[in-house]
Symmetry: D3
Subunit: 107 residues, 6 copies
C-alpha cells in the first residue's frame, strides 16, 4: 500500500514504457518507507513538511490527502507540521500549505 503513495498519474506510462525505471522507483520506495527506527506515519509527516517547505502545491496536496486517507492523520497533526514549516521556511510556504490543508479537511 505504501508503494502507491508517491506514484503520480504519469507513472502508469512509465510502468509500461520504461519497466526498469519503474522497478527502480518501486525498489526505492520500499526501502525508503520501511525505516528501521521511525514508523510510517512519522515519515509521512516529514514528507508533508518537506513538500510544504518547498512550496510545492501539487506534492503538498497529494501527501496531505494520502496521510488523511491511509493513516487517519488529523487536521491538528497537519497544522503541527506546518508550524515547523512556518518557523523554518516562513510565511510564504506556510500560507500556501495552510490553504491546501484547510481545503483537504473540508472535503
Amino acid at each position: 500500500m505504501k508503494k502507491e503513495v508517491f506514484y503520480g498519474k504519469g507513472m502508469a506510462k512509465v510502468k509500461e514504457d520504461e519497466p526498469e525505471l519503474y522497478q527502480a522507483i518501486v525498489g526505492l520506495n520500499d526501502a525508503v518507507w520501511n525505516g528501521k527506527a521511525l514508523d510510517y506515519k512519522t515519515q509521512k509527516l516529514i514528507a508533508i513538511g518537506i513538500a510544504a517547505s518547498n512550496g510545492d502545491s501539487r506534492a503538498t496536496e497529494k501527501q496531505i490527502k494520502s496521510a488523511k486517507k491511509e493513516l487517519d492523520v488529523s487536521y491538528d497533526e497537519v497544522v503541527d507540521v506546518l508550524r515547523v514549516v512556518l518557523l523554518t521556511s516562513g510565511m510564504q510556504p506556510f500560507n500556501k500549505a495552510l490553504q491546501i490543508a484547510n481545503k483537504v479537511f473540508e472535503e
Copy 2:
C-alpha cells in the same frame, strides 16, 4: 529549553539591539514547538527533514546536533528522516545531509 534551539549565534546581538524583534521570535518559537497534536521530538525530526531537503548544511547540522543532545534522537532515526529526503528531494541533498549526520554521530 525548546526556545534555545533555533537561536543562532547572531541572536545575541538581536536580543540587545532589537528587543522587540527578539521577543517576536521567542513568541513564534514558543507557539511553533508547543503543537496540539504532535510531540516535540516528531516536530524536531520534521525540522531536520526540511533543513536537509533545502540543502542547508548549517541548519541541518544544528538541528541534528540539538536533536541528539536534547532528545536522544538516534543515528537510525536521523537516517529514517533522510530516507524521506532521498525519495522526495533526491541524491544531492541526501548525500550532503548523510555526511553531516555521520559526522555528528561520530563525535
Copy 3:
C-alpha cells in the same frame, strides 16, 4: 494595516482554532514591518523581490496587489524590482513574475 498583508485566507481558521499561534504571527508581523531604518514601502518591495525570486506565484501576486493598493507602488517600480530578480535569479522566475505584474496592473 500592515498586519493584514501577509495573512492568507487560511488564517481565519488559525485565529479561531489556534489563537496562540495566531498571536505569535501577529507579533512577528508587527516586529518585521516596523524596522528601524527602512520604510514600509522599501520592505514591501523587498518582499516582492523575494517572492518573485522563489518562483512563488501566489505570494508574488499577493505582494504586488497589496503594494499597489496600500502603497500606490507603480508598475515601473515593480519592474525595477523584477530587474534585480532577472539578474540574480534568471529568466525563469523573471518571466513568471512579469506576467503576474502585467496582469495586476491591467486590472
Copy 4:
C-alpha cells in the same frame, strides 16, 4: 529563432516600455545559446532539466514544448532528462515534470 525561446508573453510589454532592458535580454539570450562546445539541442535539454528540477511547471512546459517543436526532441529524450531530475532532485519534481511531458506529447 533561438532568441524567441525564452521570451514569455510578458516580454512584448517590456520591448515597448523598457527597450534597453529588452535589448540586454536579447544580447544575453544570443550569448547563452551560442556556446562554443555544445550544440543548441544539448543546451535545450539542460534547460528542461533545470526547469524540472526547480519544480517550475510554467518553465518546464514552455521548454518541453519548444524543444519538441523547434528541435524535434522526442518523448524518450525528455524522459532521459527526467531520469537525471529523479536522481538529483527526487520524486516530487520528477512526478510534476513527468505529467507535463506526458501532456505535451499527447497533444
Copy 5:
C-alpha cells in the same frame, strides 16, 4: 562602478575566453541597475534580500559587503532587510544571513 558589483572572481577568465558572453553580462548588468523608478540603493537592498532568502552565503556576503562599501548601507538597514527574510522565508535563511551581516559589520 555598478557594473563591478556582480562580477565574481571567475569573471576575469570569462572576459578573456568568452568576450561575447562577458559583453552580454555587462549589458544585462547595466540594464538591471539603471531602473526607471527605484534608486540603486533600493535595488541593492532587494538583491541582499533575495540572496539571503535563497540561503546563498556567498552571494549574501558579497552583496552586503558591496552595499556597505559603495553605498554606506548601515547595519540597521541590513537587519531591516533580514526582517523581511525572516517573515517570508523563515528562521533558517534568517539565521544564516544574520551571522554574515554581523561578521561584515564587525570588520
Copy 6:
C-alpha cells in the same frame, strides 16, 4: 563505473548498515544513467546544470570533477552548461559554479 558517480563518502556506512537502502540506490542509479535515448555524457551535463542551478557547491564540484575525469568533459563544455544556468537561474548560481569550474580545471 557509472554507479559510483553519485555515491558520496557517507555511502560506505549506508552500504554496511542499511544494505536494502543501498541496493535501492544502486538500482535507481543504474536505471537513471542507462537512458533509452540520451548518452551518458549528455545526462552528466544535465546533472551539472541542475547542481549548479540549485547553488549546491558540493554537488556541482563532484559532478564537474567526475565529468572531467570519467568522460573527458572540457572546460568549454562546462561553461556552455553554465551559460544555460546563467539564463535560467541568474548570476548568483552562475558565479558560484563558475568559480568551482575554474578551480577544477586549474588543478
